[in-house]
Subunit: 83 residues, 2 copies
């Protein structure tokens, strides 16, 4: 077994309203910044043991499906690095 | 001017308690997953125009300093890609 860190990034699907991101964009604009869009996402870094990177990615994928992401409104991706 | 996407990842500094991450870890364990640690972070993807990637990174860095991160409790990093 090796130690891996799986990074799961959970984003809202295109078309789902994101009032928090809109508020953050407006606050940046009030501070004088120019930007054309801002999207927010949640990022989970999960340390786990697995026989190989594929197994670690599969497990992280299952965590995203079952708890971290809501498939109705979220997309997610998983990236794995060995520690 | 070119179009860039700056990704700002904001994490809690080591030693700062993260009850949300702890709760998420426990929920995953209750579902039967084995993991040794879970850290959560906020990720902002910012679309902006800038003369070059360095200028885009500098602007995103300033946004993090002024609004997106709280320097008392957060670390952040900035990555820029051209669109």
């Amino acid at each position: 077994m090796s130690e891996f860190t799986a990074t799961v990034t959970v984003r809202l699907k295109r078309g789902v309203l994101d009032p928090e991101a809109e508020t953050t964009k407006q606050a940046l604009e009030r501070l004088g910044f120019e930007l054309s869009a801002l999207r927010s996402a949640d990022r989970f870094e999960i340390d786990l043991e697995a026989p190989d990177a594929d197994a670690a990615a599969e497990r992280a994928d299952e965590m995203a499906e079952r708890l971290l992401a809501n498939p109705t409104i979220h997309d997610y991706d998983v990236a794995v690095t060995e520690r």
